[in-house]
Amino acid sequence: MKENVTPTMVFILLLFLNIRLLNGESPPGKPVIFKCRSPEKETFTCWWKPGTNGGLPTNYTLTYYKEGENIIYECPDYNTSGPNSCYFNKKYTSIWTLYVIRVNATNNMGSNASDPRLVDVAYIVEPNPPQNITLEIKRPENRKPYLWIKWFPPALVDITSGWLILQYEVRLRPENAAEWEVHFSGQQKYFKILSLYPGQKYFVQVRCKPDHGFWSKWSPETSIDIPSDFKMSDTTVWIFVAILFAVLCLIMVWAVALKSYSMMTCIFPPVPGPKIKGFDTHLLERGKTEELLGAFGCQDFPPTSDSEDLLVEFLEVDDSEDQQLMPAFSKEYPGQAVKSQHLDLDNDSGHGSCDSPSFLSEKCGGPWANPPTFHTPEVIKKLESLEANITCTWDSQAKSTKDKILYFHANGFRSSTWPLPQPTQHNPRSPYHSIAEVSKLAKGPKAALDTVIHKASKDALQSSKTTETGGEERAMEQMEVVRFPPKTEQDTAWVLPQENAPFISAKPLDYVEIHKVNRDGALSLTPKQKDSTEQVEKPRAPEIIKEYAKVARVTENNILVLMPDPRGQNIALFEESAKEALLSLQQNQAEKNMAYFTVTPNNFRLQQDGLGYLDPASFMSSFRG
């Protein structure tokens, strides 16, 4: 039984406690001191927030002790600052001394103490707002009017002794605006506002702050009405200026309109177009060369009985940039089998095209023989367009038109042929090597090749014009035109280039016969010697093979100076160096190894400039003569 008694007693006790709790009575909640402030660094006040009072009347006491002392004091004044506050007057306030303050809440059930709060009066200064704010509109003479704001420091703060230093801030807004315009005023107790909207009502407020303390609250609003004539003098001046400016603009426009034309010509002088005296552009458009040349005073040039069986091919050199060449040709070739181009008489630029039989054959051989071989890394990009170009040209050739001038895109040609000789050769640029390769590879279209070669051999052309596009192209062009003997076997013919390739030209001087000069001034040259065929069959005889590259110049004796194909020399060069080096070397060597040829039937002078162009004007004069 006794064991039952103790738990029962506990239970009853707990019941009583719970009953009392159920009545809502409990010790008070923990108060919190939330703010301590000093308005002038001489007194201070602390406010606390009571916790729950536990349903019973709760008594709050504030106790504190100072730094360095062991005495606990109680709040001297609970009333001055309102409920739940403690006011320390000057007597109880020590500056630069740490106060440790606590609030105790006590009721019948128990007590509860707040956390201690550390207060150093020097750092909790928050003054009252400034007082006696005055607003005034001042209008000094000859100056802009302004709003003058003046105020006084709060009452309790001692500024004069230097105990506190205050800084001020002003803000104002028009009546219907929501945003305040804030200005910092420093330690001065006045402020000047210059930019105001006339005819409106403005509200102004001021606040202050000690140099190491908190900002005060804003003072109550003071208002002022801005008179309507507050200040327009500036704007009237601007209006006058604007009107004047507008009038001036109108006058200028009118003057310009009257003399627009003369002014335009003065400012933008017209660019003169190209003109040739006595030249009728309409003649060109009509395309009748006889008339055209008649305008020049030329007669019988070019000979109209053009080669029935002469296929004139020549390489046109284009002066323009390489890039321009490429896209131009790629556009043209797909559509045109043969592109007849007039020599641009006004300038020397022509289109690059293959003109030599060797070129032709190479070109033809290339794409036909082995398209897959076109994988030179350098020219892969060009292959598609070039193949198209070459195919077109091939078609044209197959037609074997007489007076067709086959223009092969020099760039395309070269590019396409470059890859041909590829794998076995360091220098892919030798057309001869390419031809050899082609011959090996291309068993198929021999007939076509034969035709081409036949034609090429007939032509014996040689007015190759080197393009200026690049070393690569130049190399190709100067690459020699091999003259294929018409009756040699294909294999032999193919073999020839190979053998000829490596040889260094010790070219014998030989004569060249100009077979024909076509309409465009291209020279068709035939070699004098016909027995080159037999000689060709011998493995040697590099010297017999005449390699004619281009006309270098014409001497006074009407001797045509042709540049031999520096191919043989160049092969080594190709193998060794880049295009630019090739180019320079070729030029140098071409200069050095000039073959002097006398043109028998027609001794004429050919003027050749450094570009390798043939000037048709010189043709015509010599023909005439």
Binding site: K41, E42, E67, G68, T97, L98, L118, S161, G162, H212
Partner: protein, 200 residues
């Protein structure tokens, strides 16, 4: 302790300026005799500007220390221990402060301002330089002053116990902030009194 380096550097600079000022001010009490061009109010202005800046820096330093270290420091060690400058009697309220000129020599204020900055700057900036902390460079005028307080906290500042050194550092920051505030207030009061007296 980023604030430590920053604050201490500026305070070292300000300290030497204050020393310089103090040296000049002490001699210029009798302005007519020394022939110095700078008047006392101007000197006071300069001193006020410097002390204001020093106090701003030390206040920032203290704020940083508070936010970083308040959780770790011992309340009593930091807040109940007296600052070592407490032995220098300084005004505790406005009335006493206003009577500075009467009750204390103005040199006391100079001394206090300079010495405070010196000690605290030296203490805060030299955990590694023990000799400098112990041999505080005191201006001759100050050296002649009575009982100069002794700062005994360097060992605890340099102690291997992190908590103790932290507490000491916190305490020093608090003391520095207070003392610089005192110095600035005293200088301002002094300046207004000098200005007022010069007008009469």
């Amino acid at each position: 302790m980023n604030g430590q380096g920053k604050g201490s550097l500026v305070m070292l600079l300000a300290m030497w300026s204050l020393l310089l000022w103090q040296d000049v001010a002490a001699q210029s009490n009798s302005t007519n005799e020394t022939g110095y061009q700078i008047s006392l109010p101007d000197l006071l202005d300069r001193a006020i500007t410097l002390s204001h800046y020093i106090h701003t820096l030390s206040s920032d330093l203290y704020q940083e220390v508070e936010t970083l270290l308040s959780q770790d420091t011992d309340f009593f060690a930091v807040y109940t221990t007296q600052c070592h400058t407490a032995s220098i009697s300084t005004p505790a309220n406005k009335e006493q402060a206003l009577k500075i000129q009467e009750t204390l020599h103005s040199q006391d204020i100079d001394f206090f301002a300079v010495y405070t900055t010196q000690c605290h700057t030296a203490s805060i900036s030299t955990p590694a330089n023990k000799e400098q902390a112990l041999k505080i460079q005191v201006a001759p005028q100050i050296r002649n002053y009575g009982n100069s307080p002794v700062w005994t906290q360097l060992p605890s500042l340099q102690s291997s116990d992190g908590k103790e050194s932290l507490n000491t550092f916190h305490h020093l920051c608090r003391c520095l902030r207070r003392d610089t505030h005192k110095a600035e207030t005293f200088l301002r009061v002094l300046k207004s009194q000098v200005a007022r007296h010069s007008n009469y």
